[in-house]
Protein backbone atom coordinates (compact mmCIF):
# COMPACT_ATOMS: atom_id res chain seq x y z
CA UNK A 1 0.00 0.00 0.00
CA UNK A 2 1.44 3.40 -0.97
CA UNK A 3 2.12 6.08 1.62
CA UNK A 4 -1.12 7.98 2.39
CA UNK A 5 -1.25 11.55 1.10
CA UNK A 6 -3.68 12.52 3.87
CA UNK A 7 -4.07 10.95 7.27
CA UNK A 8 -6.43 11.96 10.06
CA UNK A 9 -5.38 10.81 13.53
CA UNK A 10 -8.33 10.61 15.93
CA UNK A 11 -9.57 14.00 14.82
CA UNK A 12 -11.80 15.83 17.29
CA UNK A 13 -13.33 18.92 15.76
CA UNK A 14 -15.85 21.51 16.77
CA UNK A 15 -18.56 23.36 14.95
CA UNK A 16 -18.81 26.46 17.09
CA UNK A 17 -19.17 25.20 20.67
CA UNK A 18 -20.58 21.92 19.51
CA UNK A 19 -18.30 18.92 19.06
CA UNK A 20 -18.98 17.62 15.56
CA UNK A 21 -16.27 14.98 15.15
CA UNK A 22 -15.07 12.40 17.66
CA UNK A 23 -11.79 10.58 17.07
CA UNK A 24 -12.07 10.25 13.32
CA UNK A 25 -9.29 8.18 11.70
CA UNK A 26 -9.06 8.31 7.93
CA UNK A 27 -6.49 7.77 5.21
CA UNK A 28 -6.37 8.82 1.56
CA UNK A 29 -3.74 7.20 -0.65
CA UNK A 30 -2.00 8.95 -3.51
CA UNK A 31 -4.35 9.05 -6.52
CA UNK A 32 -7.27 7.56 -4.62
CA UNK A 33 -10.87 8.75 -4.73
CA UNK A 34 -12.56 8.47 -1.38
CA UNK A 35 -16.25 9.02 -0.68
CA UNK A 36 -17.57 10.38 2.61
CA UNK A 37 -21.22 9.63 3.16
CA UNK A 38 -23.52 10.34 6.04
CA UNK A 39 -26.77 12.02 6.99
CA UNK A 40 -27.22 15.73 7.64
CA UNK A 41 -25.36 16.74 10.76
CA UNK A 42 -23.09 13.69 10.71
CA UNK A 43 -20.02 15.96 10.57
CA UNK A 44 -19.15 15.81 6.87
CA UNK A 45 -18.80 19.55 6.39
CA UNK A 46 -16.83 19.92 9.61
CA UNK A 47 -14.51 17.22 8.28
CA UNK A 48 -13.97 19.25 5.08
CA UNK A 49 -13.43 22.44 7.06
CA UNK A 50 -10.90 20.72 9.30
CA UNK A 51 -8.86 19.38 6.41
CA UNK A 52 -8.89 22.67 4.50
CA UNK A 53 -7.93 24.74 7.53
CA UNK A 54 -11.16 26.73 7.84
CA UNK A 55 -11.50 25.03 11.20
CA UNK A 56 -8.22 24.82 13.06
CA UNK A 57 -7.41 21.83 15.25
CA UNK A 58 -4.47 20.27 17.04
CA UNK A 59 -1.56 20.20 14.64
CA UNK A 60 -0.94 16.46 14.36
CA UNK A 61 -4.58 15.49 13.99
CA UNK A 62 -4.27 16.23 10.27
CA UNK A 63 -1.18 14.92 8.47
CA UNK A 64 -0.55 15.75 4.84
CA UNK A 65 2.42 14.27 2.99
CA UNK A 66 3.97 13.49 6.36
CA UNK A 67 3.68 17.07 7.67
CA UNK A 68 1.29 18.18 10.40
CA UNK A 69 -1.19 20.70 9.02
CA UNK A 70 -4.04 20.56 11.54
CA UNK A 71 -3.25 23.97 13.02
CA UNK A 72 -2.43 25.82 9.81
CA UNK A 73 -4.60 28.62 8.40
CA UNK A 74 -6.65 27.89 5.28
CA UNK A 75 -4.35 29.92 3.01
CA UNK A 76 -1.32 27.96 4.25
CA UNK A 77 -3.11 24.66 3.68
CA UNK A 78 -4.11 25.79 0.19
CA UNK A 79 -0.49 26.64 -0.61
CA UNK A 80 0.45 23.03 0.17
CA UNK A 81 -1.88 21.76 -2.54
CA UNK A 82 -5.26 21.07 -0.97
CA UNK A 83 -8.26 22.68 -2.68
CA UNK A 84 -11.89 22.70 -1.57
CA UNK A 85 -15.00 23.00 -3.71
CA UNK A 86 -17.23 24.37 -0.97
CA UNK A 87 -20.82 23.43 -0.31
CA UNK A 88 -23.17 25.88 -2.01
CA UNK A 89 -20.48 26.90 -4.56
CA UNK A 90 -19.68 30.21 -2.86
CA UNK A 91 -18.41 32.08 -5.90
CA UNK A 92 -17.21 35.66 -5.51
CA UNK A 93 -20.13 37.82 -6.69
CA UNK A 94 -17.96 40.87 -7.44
CA UNK A 95 -15.78 38.86 -9.79
CA UNK A 96 -16.54 37.76 -13.33
CA UNK A 97 -16.48 34.08 -14.24
CA UNK A 98 -12.94 34.35 -15.56
CA UNK A 99 -11.77 36.34 -12.53
CA UNK A 100 -13.19 33.67 -10.24
CA UNK A 101 -11.11 31.10 -12.09
CA UNK A 102 -8.01 33.29 -12.12
CA UNK A 103 -8.13 33.92 -8.39
CA UNK A 104 -8.17 30.15 -7.92
CA UNK A 105 -4.82 30.04 -9.71
CA UNK A 106 -3.29 33.04 -8.01
CA UNK A 107 -0.82 30.97 -5.94
CA UNK A 108 0.93 29.98 -9.17
CA UNK A 109 1.31 26.28 -8.38
CA UNK A 110 2.54 24.34 -11.43
CA UNK A 111 0.41 21.63 -12.98
CA UNK A 112 -1.86 20.64 -15.84
CA UNK A 113 -4.69 23.07 -15.02
CA UNK A 114 -4.91 26.49 -16.62
CA UNK A 115 -7.72 28.73 -17.89
CA UNK A 116 -7.44 26.93 -21.21
CA UNK A 117 -7.74 23.49 -19.65
CA UNK A 118 -10.77 24.52 -17.59
CA UNK A 119 -12.44 25.98 -20.68
CA UNK A 120 -11.79 22.74 -22.55
CA UNK A 121 -13.44 20.80 -19.72
CA UNK A 122 -16.40 23.22 -19.44
CA UNK A 123 -16.74 25.05 -22.81
CA UNK A 124 -19.81 26.95 -21.66
CA UNK A 125 -17.65 28.87 -19.19
CA UNK A 126 -15.56 30.31 -22.00
CA UNK A 127 -18.71 31.72 -23.59
CA UNK A 128 -19.73 33.21 -20.27
CA UNK A 129 -16.27 34.28 -19.12
CA UNK A 130 -17.03 38.01 -18.81
CA UNK A 131 -20.36 37.62 -17.05
CA UNK A 132 -20.93 38.16 -13.36
CA UNK A 133 -20.59 34.76 -11.74
CA UNK A 134 -23.96 35.16 -10.03
CA UNK A 135 -25.75 35.47 -13.39
CA UNK A 136 -25.00 31.83 -14.26
CA UNK A 137 -27.30 28.89 -13.64
CA UNK A 138 -26.65 26.68 -10.63
CA UNK A 139 -24.94 23.99 -12.69
CA UNK A 140 -22.69 26.51 -14.43
CA UNK A 141 -21.82 28.07 -11.08
CA UNK A 142 -20.82 24.62 -9.88
CA UNK A 143 -18.56 24.30 -12.92
CA UNK A 144 -16.92 27.61 -11.98
CA UNK A 145 -16.48 26.42 -8.40
CA UNK A 146 -14.84 23.19 -9.60
CA UNK A 147 -12.72 25.07 -12.14
CA UNK A 148 -11.65 27.56 -9.49
CA UNK A 149 -10.41 24.73 -7.26
CA UNK A 150 -8.65 23.02 -10.18
CA UNK A 151 -6.85 26.25 -11.12
CA UNK A 152 -4.83 25.86 -7.92
CA UNK A 153 -3.41 22.62 -9.38
CA UNK A 154 -4.05 20.78 -6.13
CA UNK A 155 -2.70 17.34 -5.23
CA UNK A 156 -5.79 16.69 -3.13
CA UNK A 157 -9.19 18.08 -4.03
CA UNK A 158 -12.18 18.09 -1.69
CA UNK A 159 -15.71 18.18 -3.06
CA UNK A 160 -18.37 19.17 -0.55
CA UNK A 161 -21.91 18.27 -1.66
CA UNK A 162 -21.38 19.12 -5.32
CA UNK A 163 -24.78 17.81 -6.37
CA UNK A 164 -26.75 19.65 -3.70
CA UNK A 165 -29.50 21.79 -5.20
CA UNK A 166 -28.76 20.88 -8.80
CA UNK A 167 -31.04 19.27 -11.39
CA UNK A 168 -30.42 15.53 -11.95
CA UNK A 169 -29.33 16.10 -15.55
CA UNK A 170 -26.69 18.61 -14.39
CA UNK A 171 -25.50 16.23 -11.67
CA UNK A 172 -25.06 13.57 -14.33
CA UNK A 173 -22.94 15.94 -16.43
CA UNK A 174 -20.78 16.91 -13.52
CA UNK A 175 -20.19 13.33 -12.46
CA UNK A 176 -19.40 12.47 -16.09
CA UNK A 177 -16.67 15.11 -15.99
CA UNK A 178 -15.16 13.85 -12.71
CA UNK A 179 -12.92 11.08 -14.11
CA UNK A 180 -11.33 13.63 -16.46
CA UNK A 181 -10.65 15.82 -13.47
CA UNK A 182 -9.27 13.25 -11.11
CA UNK A 183 -7.46 11.24 -13.77
CA UNK A 184 -4.32 13.37 -13.56
CA UNK A 185 -3.00 11.63 -10.46
CA UNK A 186 -4.96 13.91 -8.18
CA UNK A 187 -6.42 12.46 -5.00
CA UNK A 188 -9.98 13.35 -4.13
CA UNK A 189 -12.38 13.30 -1.23
CA UNK A 190 -16.03 13.46 -2.21
CA UNK A 191 -18.71 14.32 0.28
CA UNK A 192 -22.09 13.33 -1.03
CA UNK A 193 -25.57 12.58 0.22
CA UNK A 194 -26.42 10.51 -2.86
CA UNK A 195 -24.89 7.20 -1.82
CA UNK A 196 -25.14 5.53 -5.23
CA UNK A 197 -23.32 8.42 -6.92
CA UNK A 198 -20.68 8.50 -4.21
CA UNK A 199 -19.97 4.78 -4.40
CA UNK A 200 -19.86 4.76 -8.20
CA UNK A 201 -16.97 7.22 -8.46
CA UNK A 202 -14.93 6.17 -5.45
CA UNK A 203 -12.73 3.20 -4.65
CA UNK A 204 -13.33 3.31 -0.90
CA UNK A 205 -15.87 5.02 1.34
CA UNK A 206 -16.26 6.17 4.92
CA UNK A 207 -19.66 6.55 6.50
CA UNK A 208 -20.03 9.12 9.27
CA UNK A 209 -22.72 8.96 11.91
CA UNK A 210 -23.01 11.54 14.64
CA UNK A 211 -19.38 12.54 14.30
CA UNK A 212 -17.89 9.04 14.28
CA UNK A 213 -16.83 6.70 11.49
CA UNK A 214 -19.55 4.05 11.55
CA UNK A 215 -18.40 2.05 8.55
CA UNK A 216 -15.66 2.03 5.96
CA UNK A 217 -14.60 -0.27 3.17
CA UNK A 218 -14.33 -0.81 -0.56
CA UNK A 219 -17.07 0.95 -2.54
CA UNK A 220 -17.57 -1.89 -5.01
CA UNK A 221 -18.37 -4.55 -2.43
CA UNK A 222 -20.32 -2.48 0.07
CA UNK A 223 -23.58 -4.13 1.15
CA UNK A 224 -26.57 -1.81 1.13
CA UNK A 225 -27.94 -3.12 4.45
CA UNK A 226 -24.64 -2.38 6.18
CA UNK A 227 -24.61 1.12 4.75
CA UNK A 228 -28.20 1.80 5.75
CA UNK A 229 -27.38 0.73 9.29
CA UNK A 230 -24.22 2.84 9.38
CA UNK A 231 -25.98 5.79 7.77
CA UNK A 232 -29.12 5.95 9.87
CA UNK A 233 -27.93 4.15 12.98
CA UNK A 234 -30.93 1.82 13.10
CA UNK A 235 -30.55 -1.82 13.95
Amino acid sequence: MPEPILKLNSLDAFYGDFQALYGVDLEVSEGEVLAIIGANGAGKTTLMRSISGLTQNASDMVKYRGGSIGALRADQVAAQGIALVPEGRQLFPSLSVEENLMIGGQMGRKGPWSLKAVYTLFPILQERRNQQSTSLSGGQQQMVAIGRALMANPDLILFDEISLGLAPIIIKDIYAALPGIIGEGMSALIVEQDITKALSVSSRFYCLQEGRVSLNGASATAAREDISRAYFGVE
Partner: protein, 287 residues
Protein backbone atom coordinates in the same frame (compact mmCIF):
# COMPACT_ATOMS: atom_id res chain seq x y z
CA UNK B 1 -19.92 85.40 -13.85
CA UNK B 2 -19.24 85.50 -10.13
CA UNK B 3 -21.52 82.50 -9.73
CA UNK B 4 -19.78 80.61 -12.50
CA UNK B 5 -16.55 81.36 -10.73
CA UNK B 6 -17.96 80.04 -7.45
CA UNK B 7 -19.02 76.79 -9.13
CA UNK B 8 -15.63 76.32 -10.78
CA UNK B 9 -13.71 77.04 -7.57
CA UNK B 10 -16.03 74.69 -5.69
CA UNK B 11 -15.45 71.96 -8.24
CA UNK B 12 -11.70 72.27 -7.79
CA UNK B 13 -12.10 72.24 -4.01
CA UNK B 14 -14.07 69.03 -4.50
CA UNK B 15 -10.87 67.42 -5.79
CA UNK B 16 -9.31 67.89 -2.35
CA UNK B 17 -12.38 66.44 -0.65
CA UNK B 18 -12.29 63.48 -2.99
CA UNK B 19 -8.70 62.87 -1.89
CA UNK B 20 -9.85 62.98 1.75
CA UNK B 21 -12.56 60.49 0.90
CA UNK B 22 -10.77 58.04 -1.40
CA UNK B 23 -8.84 56.32 1.38
CA UNK B 24 -11.93 56.12 3.55
CA UNK B 25 -13.90 54.60 0.68
CA UNK B 26 -11.19 52.05 -0.07
CA UNK B 27 -10.95 50.87 3.53
CA UNK B 28 -14.68 50.57 3.91
CA UNK B 29 -14.99 48.84 0.55
CA UNK B 30 -12.42 46.14 1.28
CA UNK B 31 -12.90 45.39 4.98
CA UNK B 32 -16.09 47.18 6.08
CA UNK B 33 -13.99 49.19 8.51
CA UNK B 34 -15.19 52.69 9.38
CA UNK B 35 -12.03 54.56 10.24
CA UNK B 36 -12.79 57.36 12.68
CA UNK B 37 -9.08 58.27 12.76
CA UNK B 38 -8.98 58.99 9.03
CA UNK B 39 -9.06 62.78 9.43
CA UNK B 40 -6.23 62.67 11.96
CA UNK B 41 -4.24 60.44 9.63
CA UNK B 42 -4.65 63.12 6.92
CA UNK B 43 -3.28 65.69 9.38
CA UNK B 44 -0.46 63.29 10.29
CA UNK B 45 0.37 63.15 6.58
CA UNK B 46 0.51 66.95 6.49
CA UNK B 47 2.86 67.07 9.51
CA UNK B 48 5.12 64.38 8.07
CA UNK B 49 5.23 66.50 4.92
CA UNK B 50 6.16 69.52 7.00
CA UNK B 51 8.99 67.64 8.71
CA UNK B 52 10.34 66.31 5.44
CA UNK B 53 10.27 69.73 3.76
CA UNK B 54 12.04 71.43 6.68
CA UNK B 55 14.58 68.66 7.35
CA UNK B 56 15.49 67.83 3.76
CA UNK B 57 14.68 71.19 2.19
CA UNK B 58 12.39 69.56 -0.34
CA UNK B 59 9.44 71.15 -2.10
CA UNK B 60 6.20 69.80 -0.54
CA UNK B 61 5.24 68.07 -3.79
CA UNK B 62 8.63 66.35 -3.88
CA UNK B 63 8.11 65.35 -0.24
CA UNK B 64 5.40 62.98 -1.48
CA UNK B 65 8.19 60.60 -2.51
CA UNK B 66 9.05 60.15 1.16
CA UNK B 67 5.69 60.68 2.86
CA UNK B 68 3.57 58.37 0.69
CA UNK B 69 5.70 55.25 1.37
CA UNK B 70 6.08 56.25 5.03
CA UNK B 71 2.32 56.51 5.49
CA UNK B 72 1.79 53.27 3.57
CA UNK B 73 4.20 51.52 5.94
CA UNK B 74 2.40 53.00 8.95
CA UNK B 75 -0.86 51.75 7.44
CA UNK B 76 0.38 48.20 7.00
CA UNK B 77 1.77 48.04 10.54
CA UNK B 78 -1.36 49.61 12.00
CA UNK B 79 -3.59 47.11 10.25
CA UNK B 80 -1.54 44.01 11.06
CA UNK B 81 -0.70 45.15 14.58
CA UNK B 82 -4.01 46.53 15.79
CA UNK B 83 -6.95 46.88 13.43
CA UNK B 84 -7.06 43.25 12.20
CA UNK B 85 -7.71 42.22 15.79
CA UNK B 86 -10.83 44.39 15.91
CA UNK B 87 -12.50 43.03 12.78
CA UNK B 88 -15.28 40.52 13.17
CA UNK B 89 -19.02 40.22 13.19
CA UNK B 90 -19.38 43.09 15.66
CA UNK B 91 -18.95 46.53 14.08
CA UNK B 92 -18.38 48.32 17.39
CA UNK B 93 -14.74 47.36 18.19
CA UNK B 94 -13.21 48.95 15.07
CA UNK B 95 -15.19 52.14 15.71
CA UNK B 96 -14.00 52.33 19.32
CA UNK B 97 -10.39 51.48 18.50
CA UNK B 98 -10.12 53.97 15.63
CA UNK B 99 -11.75 56.60 17.84
CA UNK B 100 -9.05 55.94 20.44
CA UNK B 101 -6.45 56.07 17.71
CA UNK B 102 -7.78 59.47 16.69
CA UNK B 103 -7.27 60.80 20.22
CA UNK B 104 -3.77 59.32 20.39
CA UNK B 105 -2.69 60.79 17.04
CA UNK B 106 -4.03 64.24 17.95
CA UNK B 107 -2.20 64.27 21.25
CA UNK B 108 1.01 62.91 19.81
CA UNK B 109 0.95 65.67 17.17
CA UNK B 110 0.24 68.23 19.87
CA UNK B 111 3.23 67.00 21.91
CA UNK B 112 5.54 66.93 18.90
CA UNK B 113 4.55 69.99 16.91
CA UNK B 114 2.61 72.14 19.48
CA UNK B 115 -0.82 73.65 18.83
CA UNK B 116 0.52 76.48 16.63
CA UNK B 117 -0.93 76.48 13.13
CA UNK B 118 1.63 75.39 10.54
CA UNK B 119 1.78 75.68 6.81
CA UNK B 120 3.94 74.17 4.12
CA UNK B 121 5.71 76.55 1.81
CA UNK B 122 5.21 75.62 -1.82
CA UNK B 123 6.71 78.83 -3.23
CA UNK B 124 5.33 80.08 -6.51
CA UNK B 125 2.83 77.21 -6.79
CA UNK B 126 0.69 78.80 -4.08
CA UNK B 127 0.00 82.00 -5.98
CA UNK B 128 0.38 81.01 -9.63
CA UNK B 129 -2.80 81.08 -11.64
CA UNK B 130 -4.07 80.37 -15.11
CA UNK B 131 -6.69 82.47 -16.88
CA UNK B 132 -9.47 80.91 -18.91
CA UNK B 133 -11.59 83.65 -20.42
CA UNK B 134 -12.46 85.91 -17.55
CA UNK B 135 -11.97 83.11 -14.99
CA UNK B 136 -8.77 83.01 -13.03
CA UNK B 137 -7.92 79.57 -11.66
CA UNK B 138 -5.28 78.97 -9.01
CA UNK B 139 -2.66 76.53 -10.23
CA UNK B 140 -2.68 74.70 -6.89
CA UNK B 141 -6.43 73.87 -6.92
CA UNK B 142 -6.15 72.80 -10.56
CA UNK B 143 -3.18 70.59 -9.70
CA UNK B 144 -5.06 69.13 -6.70
CA UNK B 145 -8.06 68.34 -8.85
CA UNK B 146 -5.83 66.74 -11.47
CA UNK B 147 -4.12 64.63 -8.80
CA UNK B 148 -7.52 63.55 -7.47
CA UNK B 149 -8.56 62.36 -10.92
CA UNK B 150 -5.29 60.50 -11.42
CA UNK B 151 -5.53 58.90 -7.95
CA UNK B 152 -9.12 57.78 -8.44
CA UNK B 153 -8.47 56.50 -11.97
CA UNK B 154 -5.45 54.55 -10.66
CA UNK B 155 -7.43 53.07 -7.78
CA UNK B 156 -10.22 52.14 -10.16
CA UNK B 157 -7.75 50.48 -12.52
CA UNK B 158 -6.04 48.69 -9.64
CA UNK B 159 -9.38 47.45 -8.31
CA UNK B 160 -10.76 46.09 -11.57
CA UNK B 161 -7.71 45.25 -13.67
CA UNK B 162 -4.98 43.85 -11.41
CA UNK B 163 -4.57 40.67 -9.39
CA UNK B 164 -4.26 42.75 -6.21
CA UNK B 165 -7.61 44.38 -6.95
CA UNK B 166 -9.11 40.96 -7.60
CA UNK B 167 -7.81 39.81 -4.23
CA UNK B 168 -9.32 42.90 -2.56
CA UNK B 169 -12.73 42.27 -4.12
CA UNK B 170 -12.67 38.54 -3.38
CA UNK B 171 -11.68 39.09 0.25
CA UNK B 172 -14.39 41.73 0.58
CA UNK B 173 -16.97 39.31 -0.85
CA UNK B 174 -16.15 36.30 1.29
CA UNK B 175 -13.18 36.15 3.63
CA UNK B 176 -13.30 32.40 4.27
CA UNK B 177 -13.42 31.41 0.63
CA UNK B 178 -10.69 33.94 -0.19
CA UNK B 179 -8.51 32.14 2.39
CA UNK B 180 -9.13 28.90 0.48
CA UNK B 181 -7.66 30.59 -2.61
CA UNK B 182 -4.43 31.03 -0.68
CA UNK B 183 -5.05 34.66 0.22
CA UNK B 184 -4.12 35.59 3.77
CA UNK B 185 -6.80 38.10 4.64
CA UNK B 186 -4.67 39.75 7.33
CA UNK B 187 -2.01 40.52 4.73
CA UNK B 188 -4.61 41.63 2.15
CA UNK B 189 -6.16 43.98 4.69
CA UNK B 190 -2.69 45.28 5.55
CA UNK B 191 -2.08 46.06 1.88
CA UNK B 192 -5.47 47.79 1.59
CA UNK B 193 -4.68 49.99 4.57
CA UNK B 194 -1.21 50.72 3.19
CA UNK B 195 -2.74 51.82 -0.09
CA UNK B 196 -5.39 53.88 1.67
CA UNK B 197 -2.82 55.69 3.81
CA UNK B 198 -0.64 56.27 0.75
CA UNK B 199 -3.59 58.18 -0.73
CA UNK B 200 -4.16 59.85 2.63
CA UNK B 201 -0.57 61.13 2.53
CA UNK B 202 -1.29 62.84 -0.79
CA UNK B 203 -4.46 64.34 0.70
CA UNK B 204 -2.54 65.58 3.75
CA UNK B 205 0.16 67.27 1.72
CA UNK B 206 -2.27 68.97 -0.66
CA UNK B 207 -4.19 70.16 2.40
CA UNK B 208 -1.05 71.42 4.06
CA UNK B 209 -0.04 73.47 1.03
CA UNK B 210 -3.50 74.94 0.60
CA UNK B 211 -4.28 76.00 4.15
CA UNK B 212 -2.69 76.21 7.55
CA UNK B 213 -3.26 73.24 9.81
CA UNK B 214 -2.98 72.29 13.46
CA UNK B 215 -3.44 68.99 15.31
CA UNK B 216 -7.14 69.56 16.00
CA UNK B 217 -8.50 69.86 12.44
CA UNK B 218 -8.72 66.12 11.68
CA UNK B 219 -12.35 65.78 12.75
CA UNK B 220 -13.53 68.33 10.20
CA UNK B 221 -11.62 66.60 7.37
CA UNK B 222 -13.16 63.29 8.43
CA UNK B 223 -16.65 64.77 8.09
CA UNK B 224 -15.89 66.13 4.61
CA UNK B 225 -14.52 62.76 3.60
CA UNK B 226 -17.56 60.90 4.96
CA UNK B 227 -19.94 63.29 3.26
CA UNK B 228 -18.21 62.94 -0.09
CA UNK B 229 -18.25 59.12 0.17
CA UNK B 230 -21.91 58.98 1.15
CA UNK B 231 -23.11 61.54 -1.43
CA UNK B 232 -21.33 59.58 -4.15
CA UNK B 233 -22.55 56.20 -2.98
CA UNK B 234 -20.58 53.72 -0.86
CA UNK B 235 -17.94 51.73 -2.68
CA UNK B 236 -18.04 53.78 -5.89
CA UNK B 237 -14.76 55.64 -6.41
CA UNK B 238 -15.88 57.92 -9.25
CA UNK B 239 -19.01 58.63 -7.22
CA UNK B 240 -16.70 59.74 -4.43
CA UNK B 241 -15.13 62.32 -6.74
CA UNK B 242 -18.57 63.60 -7.72
CA UNK B 243 -19.56 63.64 -4.05
CA UNK B 244 -16.50 65.74 -3.28
CA UNK B 245 -17.37 68.14 -6.10
CA UNK B 246 -20.98 68.52 -4.92
CA UNK B 247 -19.76 69.21 -1.41
CA UNK B 248 -17.17 71.73 -2.64
CA UNK B 249 -19.63 73.54 -4.91
CA UNK B 250 -22.25 73.73 -2.15
CA UNK B 251 -19.64 75.23 0.16
CA UNK B 252 -18.42 77.89 -2.25
CA UNK B 253 -21.95 78.86 -3.25
CA UNK B 254 -22.89 79.06 0.43
CA UNK B 255 -19.87 81.25 1.07
CA UNK B 256 -20.89 83.45 -1.85
CA UNK B 257 -24.28 84.09 -0.28
CA UNK B 258 -22.79 84.73 3.12
CA UNK B 259 -19.25 83.83 4.25
CA UNK B 260 -20.65 82.30 7.43
CA UNK B 261 -22.68 79.81 5.42
CA UNK B 262 -19.80 77.94 3.82
CA UNK B 263 -19.76 74.86 6.04
CA UNK B 264 -23.47 74.95 6.72
CA UNK B 265 -24.30 74.90 2.99
CA UNK B 266 -22.10 71.83 2.51
CA UNK B 267 -23.80 69.97 5.36
CA UNK B 268 -27.26 70.98 4.09
CA UNK B 269 -26.44 69.66 0.61
CA UNK B 270 -25.30 66.42 2.21
CA UNK B 271 -28.46 66.08 4.30
CA UNK B 272 -30.72 66.83 1.33
CA UNK B 273 -29.03 64.15 -0.77
CA UNK B 274 -29.15 61.71 2.13
CA UNK B 275 -32.89 62.36 2.52
CA UNK B 276 -33.64 61.99 -1.19
CA UNK B 277 -31.18 59.18 -2.04
CA UNK B 278 -30.23 57.35 1.17
CA UNK B 279 -27.78 55.14 -0.74
CA UNK B 280 -26.05 58.09 -2.37
CA UNK B 281 -26.22 59.16 -5.98
CA UNK B 282 -24.29 56.27 -7.47
CA UNK B 283 -24.42 53.22 -5.19
CA UNK B 284 -21.88 50.54 -6.02
CA UNK B 285 -21.97 49.70 -9.70
CA UNK B 286 -20.17 46.51 -10.60
CA UNK B 287 -18.34 46.84 -13.86
Amino acid sequence: MEWVNAVVQGTLLGGLYALFAAGLSLIFGVMRLVNIAHGDLIVLGAYLGLSVTTLLGLHPIAALIVVVPAMALIGYILQRGILNQTLGKDILPPLLVTFGLSVIIQNALLETYSADPQKMNAGALETASVSIGSLSLGLLPVLTFGIAIVVIASLQWMFYRTSLGRAFRATSDNQEIAQLMGLNRRHIFGLAMALALGVTAIAGIMLGIRTSFDPSIGGGRLIFGFEAVIIGGLGNLWGTLIGGVILGVAQTIGAKIDPGWQLLAGHIAFLVILAVRPNGLFPRINE
